[in-house]
């Protein structure tokens, strides 16, 4: 499978200290790739490497099938819009002037005013079109929206957003989320969104890359994640062998997993029937737990920061 973005054994160190080691990431066309990791895990470093702001010490990045050591990578980058860390904007200019400036950099000469207006409207800043208010006087949320607008100007096929929800109010978060979903749905724009707010990413992402301490711990699709986080019942019994044999008769095999002291059963199970059969078989149950892990629980279990049941 060819990926829109692929990193192979990407590694980076600063002064002999490795901040990334063997990062392998795969973003396919049409994905909304949620890039999750704790603060300092290396998300922004990966994004800087992907966007060409810094160079890797080992490994490489492929963007639209072009490796970053190929001069054609510049052509691939033209199809990318990005906000890295914080929106890159001229603080002494108005929002519209910032967009006009970006048009000049991108070499856009036709319909500049129309494009500026459309982008401002898309990110909810249309009232700033004729305003002379300098961006320095904007709130963090407004700057974030303008930054997204700048990334949209070149009509990119791939947008990289580093912590895009930072500083946005709840209404702003909803607007940006809807914008991401709309652009992905209508224009098939692929997104790479880094965040440490899992619950927010869960509302848009179709695939996740989980990074911890400079290493990709897991890449997982939303369906796989849903399966990992579906509710389960854990039944512990003294005679665990008999319990396993009996549960195996009632529950499909793919939903039944052995644990140290019994079994874990996933999916929709008629618990009344299951418990009746266990009792009738004379198996003494020691404990029964119902478990519905959140995405956060799953994430913590992966990075080793919590107790995943």
């Amino acid at each position: 499978m060819s990926y829109l973005l692929e990193t192979v054994s990407l590694s980076k160190h600063y002064k002999k200290q490795w901040v990334l080691k063997d990062v392998n990431m795969h973003v396919a066309k049409g994905d909304i790739y949620g890039f999750v990791g704790e603060n300092g895990s290396g998300k922004t470093t990966v994004i800087r490497l992907v966007t060409g702001l810094i160079a890797a010490n080992e490994g490489h990045v492929s963007l639209f099938g072009v490796r970053d050591d190929d001069p054609k990578i510049l052509e691939s980058r033209k199809k990318v819009g990005a906000i890295v860390e914080s929106p890159s904007i001229y603080l002494n200019m108005s929002a519209a002037d910032n967009l006009r400036m970006q048009c000049t950099i991108l070499g856009i000469k036709q319909n500049v005013e129309e494009k500026v207006k459309n982008v401002l409207s898309e990110v909810g800043l249309l009232e700033q079109y004729e305003s002379k208010k300098n961006v320095a006087n904007f709130s963090l949320g407004m700057r974030q929206r303008l930054g997204i607008g700048m990334a949209l100007l070149g009509e990119p096929e791939f947008i990289i957003l580093d912590e895009p929800m930072n500083g946005l109010d709840p209404a702003g978060i909803v607007e940006i989320r809807e914008l991401i979903l709309r652009l992905n749905g209508e224009k098939q724009i692929t997104f790479l969104i880094s965040s440490h707010i899992l619950s927010e990413l869960a509302l848009v992402a179709t695939k996740y890359g989980i990074i911890s301490k400079g290493k990709i711990v897991k890449e997982i699709t939303t369906d796989e994640l849903r399966r990992e986080c579906r509710p389960s019942v854990i039944i512990n019994a003294k005679d665990k062998e008999a319990l396993r044999a009996l549960v195996g008769e009632v529950v499909p095999l793919e939903d039944c997993f052995m644990t140290a002291h019994g079994v874990r059963v996933y999916g929709e199970v008629n618990l009344n029937e299951l418990f009746s059969r266990i009792i009738n078989a004379g198996i003494l149950m020691e404990s029964v737990y119902c478990n519905k892990p959140s995405i956060e629980d799953y994430y913590l279990s992966l990075i080793g920061g919590g107790n995943h049941a």
């Binding site: 702001l53 819009g81 002494n92 200019m93 950099i105």
Partner: protein, 275 residues
């Protein structure tokens, strides 16, 4: 590259510091000749003998004022790099340099765009300020003590060309420090350290060459150092014609050092991590 250059020039012109720089250039160009005229009037009142005054009047010409201000050792020449560095460094402090890289512009074109913008701003301001000073000076002083000829005009043009070459060297040095430091303050400090060091060296070599050394090799070496020192610009505008030897002494190192700093800047910028 043209898109980047257009954008860089646009943002420089839109910067408030650009307006401030225009005001400073205009004010200095008017104030400097006025001050000298004032000094002359004051001397006329206070000096007992007219002998010293005549000497003073002979050296006080519009030409000397023009070349005095059209130099990086002059008042405006000292201020200008500070403003240019601050304006150009805003691309790094605002993080807008990232926009250029992430949208597929090559680092080489970004670097050259910065260098050309720096050169256009510096050369334009230096020349405009010096020409304005010359115009204002001509109200109060003669162009020179001897009648103006076509030869003088040619010399003036050649001097302007040489001084603009100095500007290019200064811009190569400044752009190198800007991309290397990514910080206006540090770039300015580094620039001034180099310029002051070169000025000190220039002052020493000029003093040493005054009583002509008996050793011809030593004399040539000192003369070379004098001519090659961009920050002293001692050969520019100090005479009425240029000798081929002093022109070569000036041109070769200036062009060579400009090329060296441009290359160093390019290499530094290509390898530089941008955050």
């Amino acid at each position: 590259m043209l898109d980047l250059l257009k954008a860089d020039l646009k943002r420089a012109i839109k910067d408030r510091l650009f307006i401030v720089l225009c005001i400073i250039a205009g004010a200095f160009a008017v104030i400097t000749p006025l001050l000298y005229k004032g000094m002359l009037v004051l001397l006329e009142w206070t000096m007992a003998s007219t002998e010293g005054l005549e000497m003073f009047e002979l050296t006080m010409t519009a030409k000397s004022m023009f070349f005095g201000t059209f130099s990086f050792g002059g008042d405006f020449g000292l201020i200008l790099p500070i403003f240019v560095a601050i304006i150009l460094c805003k691309d790094f402090s605002n993080g807008t340099i990232r926009n250029k890289i992430t949208c597929g512009k090559s680092r080489r074109s970004i670097y050259f765009s910065l260098l050309i913008t720096c050169s256009i701003l510096t050369c334009a301001f230096m020349l405009a300020h010096a020409l304005l000073t010359l115009l204002v000076s001509l109200i109060f002083f003669e162009y020179q003590s001897t009648p103006f000829s076509w030869g003088d005009f040619g010399y003036l043009m050649a001097s302007i060309g040489l001084q603009l070459l100095c500007c290019l060297f200064v811009c190569a040095l400044l752009t190198f420090f800007i991309v290397f430091m990514k910080n206006a303050g540090l770039a300015i400090v580094m620039y001034f350290v180099v310029s002051f060091l070169m000025t000190i060296v220039g002052s020493i070599t000029q003093t040493m060459v005054m009583p002509v050394p008996p050793d011809e090799i030593a004399y040539n070496v000192l003369e070379f150092f004098n001519a090659a020192n961009v920050f002293m610009s001692s050969i520019i505008g100090s005479g009425t014609t240029y000798q081929l030897k002093e022109l070569l002494y000036f041109l070769l190192p200036t062009v060579a050092f400009t090329a060296i700093f441009v290359t160093l800047g390019l290499v530094a910028f290509r390898k530089k991590d941008l955050k």
